[in-house]
Symmetry: C2
């Protein structure tokens, strides 16, 4: 499993992904699930992946190879004129990879599927955020649904739904996301620290703040421990239930 969140704010886009991959419960590893393509002053595109690691790595490698050997038939992520075209390119690449693996006569215990989050900005167009399905089609974030989650979405969703605010600063968004990731990691062994993040500033057209938060980082520890206590205090602060009503 995996947990990734992409979020649209008024000031830009925030991406966060965990790093745990597992082939069974007795075989876990750490892999980066976030890739960034940039042409400074012109575009910055971030991709996060959930699903079969062989599939998602193949998609990223294929997208990378096209940069080196661009052809008219298959434009590269640094050549497409819009984020919509970028989503289409990534979606087609994903579908092709899955198709190739699933129909190669090979069998696997697990599915070859993967789901991708793609966000970024190209030229004068506003930033856009897409959720791309294994079938290659995709949906776009909007004011009504300003963030997407993939992988193990349920444990960390209630706090996102309730505390998301498009006016948030990147610092506030990072705090919110770390709380959401902490709830997920506490509940699902197949989601794990460290987490990677990228905060992209609208109209900067270059990679923003990129980093990794380790599980033993003092700030994450303070969030992880503080949130539990804060939740208890919050519950205490609500009016008591009465059986007499």
């Amino acid at each position: 499993m995996t947990y990734c969140v992409g979020m649209m704010l008024n000031r830009g886009l925030v991406f966060m992904s965990d790093t745990r991959t597992n082939a069974g419960l007795d075989n876990i590893s750490t892999f980066r699930k976030m890739s960034i393509w940039e042409e400074e002053g012109e575009r910055c595109i971030t991709l996060m992946s959930a699903g079969n690691l062989a599939t998602t790595q193949a998609v990223v490698s294929e997208l990378d190879e096209r940069l080196k050997a661009p052809s008219e038939r298959a434009p590269s992520l640094l050549a497409v004129p819009s984020m919509f075209q970028a989503a289409r390119l990534v979606g087609e690449t994903l579908r092709d990879v899955i198709d190739r693996q699933a129909n190669s006569g090979q069998r696997a215990d697990t599915a070859f599927n993967a789901t991708l989050l793609l966000g970024g900005q190209i030229g004068d167009n506003p930033p856009r955020l897409f959720l791309i399905y294994p079938e290659g089609n995709f949906i776009e974030a909007s004011e009504d649904t300003p963030f997407f989650q993939t992988g193990e979405i349920k444990y960390g969703r209630p706090i996102l739904v309730r505390a998301y605010d498009p006016d948030m600063s990147f610092e506030e968004a990072m705090k919110l996301l770390l709380v959401s990731f902490d709830s997920t990691i506490k509940a699902n062994l197949t989601v794990g620290m460290p987490v990677d993040y990228h905060c992209y500033t609208t109209d900067s057209l270059k990679t923003g703040v990129v980093g990794r938060v380790e599980g033993d980082a003092p700030y994450f520890q303070s969030i992880s421990q503080g949130w539990g206590q804060a939740l208890k205090d919050t519950l205490d602060s609500l009016a008591p239930f009465s059986f007499d009503d």
Copy 2:
């Protein structure tokens, strides 16, 4: 889907279940998913069900019929000498019902499966709480895992894990459960109000406080709205993230 929680406290057992059943998204109804059997001064047993409604209703009906026509081969819930025997009886009944439906030559789009939560107290023995699987086997709650959830467990789990305390009063437990149910109901359409509850007091050996909380009840509304705001405030109270660390 369904959401049920059974919880062991030092002062007794708390049960809460939602009431929504659905056959597809365009066919939803309200059904009680909680049953109570009582022999005052001697035993009180509560059963909550998640899964195929035809299966769970058949299980309850069969358990009821045995009360009226007890036989040696199949003792009734009011005759078994311990909660362990009660769990075995209910588990066998569940397995038989599923087996009968699944192997009758009939086909269904959905599975006939169901999962049950059974808790209560018989005579001098302490209260016990069981989670019963479709296969008829079961696990028992303990100090390490003092509550069980069935159905849509993920959205409402983080707050339970963090705020559960075996010393809670029934009022506090009700508040905690309503917050957990509210988070679930906000996220999953197939879990819905009203919710039924039963608070059983240890060694009372009779039905405790039983009731139903409606979705438009003022207290539930205040919890539902207050919790969202309180969560935001709680998040604000945590130390801010800094990119400079």
